[in-house]
């Protein structure tokens, strides 16, 4: 809820991810140690190819590490099998993607409750109403994704991530496909979810001004954490990013 994280929601210890082998080996992650505070909005930044998305995928149980460990709470993610990872994602994670990734054949409402249905959980109507109200979708629950604007689709995706009240939400370039005003709107919702609903969010982005909505920014370069910044603002993040070009 505030700048100082009391507990850790997830952490990585010497996380390494290697693609290919021998001379062709690419170290997407080269021994990353990082922790994400509970109830905090953390942003991972870095130039293209720095390993941001890989780190997020491994933290979220979408991908596996070559070596090292990832913990969510006390659970060691890196030791889980496919079924365990599936359960982890289903029960404890929420996702927001750049390409919205809604199921085109389901209505907005069905998309929002899809994770709950997959988990065989019944939905909490109060919570559902509050989430839908917060993202302003009450009027559009019956619409298919194709009948919604990009901003509305991403709001559905945010609502979907919030609906199951997950331990953590991972957002991969959530504003990458949106114009700046809709992007601002989505980022405001996300910050609101952290401040008001006490959500934990980890976001990957290129955009320094999107990063400004986070409590903390972690900079990644060539598969390593190189810097971090608390209570960032857009210009400072932009200045820091400019140094990667050199």
């Amino acid at each position: 809820m505030n700048a100082t994280a009391a507990t850790t929601a997830a952490r990585a210890v010497q996380a390494t991810k290697v693609y290919g082998s021998g001379d062709n080996a690419v170290h997407a992650l080269a021994g990353v140690d990082v922790a994400f505070g509970r109830g905090e909005f953390t942003c991972i930044m870095g130039p293209s190819g720095s390993g941001k998305s890989t780190l997020m995928h491994c933290m979220a149980g979408l991908d596996s590490l070559t070596s090292g460990q990832v913990f969510v709470g006390d659970l060691e993610v890196s030791s889980l099998d496919e079924q365990g990872l599936t359960n982890l994602r289903r029960d404890r994670m929420g996702f927001i993607f750049q390409a919205f990734n809604l199921v085109p054949t389901l209505s907005a409402e069905e998309n929002i409750v899809l994770p709950l249905r997959l988990a065989g959980r019944s939905r909490d109507d109060d919570w559902f109403g509050r989430v839908v109200d917060t993202v302003g979708l009450t009027e559009r629950l019956d619409h298919r994704p194709s009948e919604l604007s990009g901003g509305q689709q991403q709001r559905v995706a945010v609502a979907r991530a919030l609906a199951s009240q997950p331990e953590m939400i991972f957002a991969d370039e959530p504003t990458g496909n949106l114009d700046s005003s809709t992007g601002t709107e989505i980022l405001t919702f996300m910050r609101h979810a952290v401040d008001v609903f006490d959500q934990t969010i980890v976001m990957v982005t290129h955009d320094p001004y999107a990063a400004a909505y986070a409590h903390r920014v972690v900079f990644l370069s060539d598969g390593m954490i190189v810097d971090e910044m608390r209570d960032p603002d857009g210009d400072r993040v932009l200045d820091r990013m400019k140094q990667f070009g050199k």
Binding site: H57, A60, L62, D63, G73, L75, L80, E82, Q83, G84, T86, N87, L88, R89, R90, D91, R92, M93, F95, F97, A99, N101, L102, V103, P104, T105, L106, L114, P115, R117, L118, A119, G120, R121, R160, E167
Partner: protein, 400 residues
Amino acid sequence: MASKDQSPASRLRLSDVVRVGASGPRARKTRTALSALGISIGIAALVGVLGLSESSKSALLDEISALGTNLLTVEAGGGIGAGDGELPETALASAARIPTVTSASAVWNVDADVYQNEYIPEGETGAINVVAADVDLVHTLRGDVADGRFFDETTAPYPTAVVGSVAAERYGIRDLDTPTYVFIGDDYVEVVGILEEFPLAADLDRSVILSQQAASTFFDADDSPSTVFVRVLDGTIDETRDVLPGNTDPENPEEVTVSRPSDALEAQAAADDALTTLFLGLGAVALLVGGIGIANVMVIAVIERRGEIGLRRALGATQAHIRRQFVTEAIILSVLGGIGGVAIGVAATFVYASSQDWRVIIPQEAAFGGLVGAVAIGAIAGLYPAMRAAKLAPTEALRA
């Protein structure tokens, strides 16, 4: 927070599977219709062919049983002997005396031409000939009189004629409300009856028939019958068949040909079977192609929907869920096709059978077998695409 052990078991209820599986076909209606069409055509062919062949066979069997399979015909000829090529004059009486024969009739050739009237040029008989018959002919053949009457003992001595169905049509004789005559030899003879078709003795349909008594009195009729028809007791066909030549023509039994006209109709029913098998084979090929079409569409759907699959996996769907979703989708496609196919097959059978005045028979095996087959084909066709879908890694699928 719930540990792994306490988390609720993954559940995808049947109703959910069907709903999720149906969402794809529902959203892509044209593609659904087209891919189901292959199965429809296959199933429609199977149901239609089986329905039509059953309906037509039952019509034919009805006809055969109405006409009776216990009719035998006795004719001269066929041997290589020194005989005169004629049955003896006594052939009819001899045949009637056989204990297993229930009724016997004969026809005799008459040496006279028949015309509609005297103004028709000579020789243009239109392939209608004149024969003589005894009074039991219609009874023995189980024929029917369309209008008027056949000869009986009272009318037999007088020169009157009965026309066969084809002959009546040629002469334009539809009924006998006004006195009607045909020109036989040099005289007009009154027509007293019109016959229905004789399916077991089609030659008679093209004949003008005189009573044997009148024919021999007023015209030049053969003394020897050309054909003897006998009805035998059921179950004694073979033994009667064996004794008929010796009884009807003791001098030249080898020159007598005995045949069973209903055999021809039964052969027709059997020939239909061969054709049916061919069409069933074609239907099966159509089904196979339909199944391949569904597999094809499903493979495309899986590639197209990698994003959705990755998303579902990311949100907590297991590999088994994904597999079931796509197999269900394939089954739904193919069952839709199957239902359509059964409907088309039944409709086709109904329309055609009705137009032929056949009883409409839809074999239940065909309808149910068609649907069960559709489910099986869908499941098989969906299996490979579904396994491919389930194996997609969530990150890979999301990148797409």
